[in-house]
Amino acid sequence: MNNPYMPYPVRIDEIIIENEARDLKTFRLVFVDPEHEKVFNHIPGQFAEISVLGKGESPIGIASSPTEAGSLLFTIKRTGVVTDELHNAREGRVIGVRGPLGKAFPIERMKGKNVVIVGGGFAFTTLRALIQYLTHEENRSDYGDITVVYGARSPGELLYKAELAAWQARDDMTTHITVDKGDDDWTGYEGFVPAILDQVAPSSTDALMVLCGPPIMIKFTLPVIEKLGFAPADTILSLEMRMKCGIGKCGRCNIGSKYVCKDGPVFTLEELSDLPDEF
Amino acid sequence: MSYQEDVRREAAKLLDEKTVHLFIGYADSDLPLKTAAHAIRSSADADQLVWNPACTANLAALLPDLLKRPEGFRGEWEPPKVGILAKGCVSRSIVGLIKANQIPRDALTIVGIACDGMVSRHWVVDQLGTAELVDATIDGGKVSVRASDGTEKTFDLDEALAPNCRVCTHRAAVIHDVAIGEAAEMDVDEAARYESVRAFAEKALDDRWAAFEEEISRCIRCYACREACPNCYCNECFAEETEPKWIGVTTDLSDLMLFHLGRAFHQAGRCVDCGACVAACPQAIDLRLLNQKINHDVQTLYGGEVSVSLEQPEPLLQFRMEDDEGFMTDPG
């Protein structure tokens, strides 16, 4: 019987320091056994449990698209026991990955629609996976207009600077980058994400909205999204909760009758309003 | 001597006069020899309160949570005024909590009550073999019980008393705003008080280890002992810390032993031998095996009484020139 508690061994191929505070790192992980990569097949929005033997596991959103074959990307903030160990790890070390887990972004439902992607801070990780997927040459024509609004505290805190530049250079998508406070070299927007979204005012006709960010950003962005005319069923978010098993058994991520690991982490605003006010 | 009516009257009075918002005492449960901790807000509910030899729980354990600012609460907050029925050991726990800055004295109205000891439900159930305790009456110094297999037994109340109650040194509240009843004078000498410790120490080392293992291996890490204890108020218990990880969360014997040994040592100089941990344990583990040993050592090495007055310094919180230093010079 398949054992969903056994991690796939993966090698840390590259570690990229994402921010000035050096507490956000992106890890490029390569499957030790190529057969594992064949069955992994994730969809943007899903997460995996990163396993560090001796320390434990952490549920982390997958930042790479399945179209970016050969490796998986995870952007991880240094927080506790497991992530501490990861941040101290060197390239070449073998750790583990369990997954893919959870419900993905509704990429099928997005077909033929315009997609507006709004992200803030380091919650942008799975949105990167989504954008890379939607804009991949094999997929691009399936989707309408793609608009991205992404903000961070300062230019140094922006993730995936190379990808941001690449997206901005494309003419088949619009990318708006903002920072709370710019520096002397900054030429982009300056302001909080909700304000910039209000300014950009993407149309909600035939469009789906995907939103990921820290709670405070979500709180102030939701009214803007409502104002723009996006229905709760068309507003898609990704939740975080304390998790352990990742497969809907241990009960830790249970909210109401839902399990964030299994019924989420992607939820529409409509689904979320059905959940008890507990998070 | 039942002070039940006095308890009800006093609680009703305090609530009616708005001296307290809440009164904590005991109520009947549906099960024999078991009471529930109970909180009332209105004098109309005062007749729900009871006082009998099954009022085992140490109510002081509920105080820190009741009297602390709710998480995320913004603005002006005052702790509720709480009345609490305090038998001797409960009042000592209250002293301990006040001195440890865990609860504010002025939020409390302590109704001290003279206690003649509590029945050990574990002991009574033990006398019934595998049958279930179905009915019990306590009257005239006797405990009469009926078991599910039809057996009827009667015990002297003295026989059925919890072991810690038998050697209790403070039957009346050591701190109170109101006092109910007169406590019988306790004449417990040191020999009697720590008899269980002495008897255990006389066993051979291997036998002691085996006995310890037998008791502790039943533990299911439910932490009822810890939560029932007023002294265990730490926001993060050593048993659950991950950085560093002192012990694991499993029921591996080493994890069990370290949890109980650790908790016993953390009680040193603070345990008032209220027996709440033993009564709370769903597996009837004799936790006093450890706690009384620690209590005995503290008493022997440093003397003094634990948590008997707000003014008197605690045995482990004062340094005297004559304190025993043998642990350093002659650990043996």
Binding site: L53, N254 | L133, R221, A224, Q283
Partner: protein, 340 residues
């Protein structure tokens, strides 16, 4: 399927024969209580008890279980060959609970191989209740003292004799293998058993179970949870004695690079259960945790599995150190739901 009859001594012989070939887990009278243990000698088996203090759930879902072992960077699946096991003496409430654990551990196509491995290797010979316990209320939650749900064989104690009613094919096979040629129960025997079942049912109170799920949802923000939480110690006594509780924690134990990943029972009653790495806790106060315990069993599981996750064994009532009584909580909650 034919109901068989055996004398008590023949029953012990039967169990002895089973212990010789399979792993037999049955109740024994420990110094302090009746508990389930692995049996070598069937003479050890206790047949006179209302219900073992701890539920039978640890036979299929042990309190601590090693998931994998590791050495450096290599992890190895720690699943053993699950031995064929017969669980004897499980009361119908605990047996029924197994069917609920089955739903969780096999949910949405993801099988928990540790639980499923043990489950598939287990044959449940439950022992019907001829009388109800002091805190029992199985009849209020869809169970019954002679209920067969979750059992492979239902044993019924008639005093000198025991009836053995096969419930499943697995149960029939067990009896055919180990008790060939056992006598058939007579009509009179079956009649006596039925009378015991009725008497046991009659001994139970009627506990009001809130079945209006929408109404129950509306109680989420009610102050009643605060009321219940006031005397809750926040320990795990209720959840750990519960036959249907299944939450667990996964931790790693390691020394110099060698160790294991183990899962252990956990409880929503502990604040640590939902504490995020960031420090945020969605259920910071006891009222939220008491609410979670009750709603998980009586609202969320019915929503997910069309099944209340309580079998009315009453262990939480008996074991709660501060005398909190789920029956009273349910009564009050039902009242509130009914009054809108």
């Amino acid at each position: 399927m034919t109901v068989l009859k055996a004398s008590k001594s023949d029953l012990r012989k039967l169990l002895g024969a089973i212990a010789g070939e399979k792993r037999l887990i049955a109740p024994i009278a420990d110094r302090t209580a009746v508990r389930f243990a692995e049996i070598a000698d069937s003479a050890e088996i206790c047949l006179e008890y209302r219900n073992p203090r701890m539920s039978a759930r640890s036979a299929l879902f042990p309190q601590s279980e090693v998931l994998l072992t590791f050495d450096g960077e290599t992890a190895t699946d720690a699943r053993p060959e699950y031995r064929e096991t017969v669980l004897f003496g499980v009361r119908p409430c605990d047996a029924r609970a197994f069917t609920m654990l089955d739903r969780v551990f096999r949910w949405e196509g993801t099988d928990d191989p540790y639980y499923v491995g043990r489950r598939e290797a287990a044959t449940v010979v439950s022992l019907a209740c001829n009388e109800s316990g002091a805190a029992c209320f199985c009849t209020s939650v869809g169970g019954a003292p002679h209920d067969e749900t979750g059992s492979d064989v239902l044993a019924i104690d008639l005093g000198d004799d025991v009836l053995l009613r096969p419930v499943s094919e697995r149960g029939e096979t067990l009896l055919a293998t180990f008790a060939p040629g056992m006598t058939e129960a007579s009509e009179a025997d079956l009649d006596r058993a039925a009378k015991f079942a009725e008497a046991a049912k009659a001994g139970q109170p009627d506990v009001a179970i809130p079945t209006d799920l929408e109404g129950l949802k509306k109680l989420f923000d009610s102050e009643v949870w605060e009321e219940f939480a006031m005397t809750c110690l926040g320990c795990g006594a209720c959840t750990y004695s519960c036959p249907t509780c299944h939450c667990f924690d996964i931790t790693d134990e390691e020394k110099r690079g060698v160790g294991y990943r183990v899962r252990s029972w956990d409880t929503c009653a502990f604040p640590l259960f939902t504490l995020h790495g960031s420090g945020h806790n969605p259920r910071p106060a006891k009222n939220a945790r008491v609410r979670q315990r009750v709603l998980h069993k009586f609202l969320y599981c019915p929503e997910n599995f069309e099944q209340v996750f309580c079998v009315g064994c009453g262990r939480c009532v008996t074991n709660c150190p501060t005398g909190i009584d789920i029956r009273k909580i349910l009564g009050r909650v039902s009242q509130l739901v009914a009054s809108g």
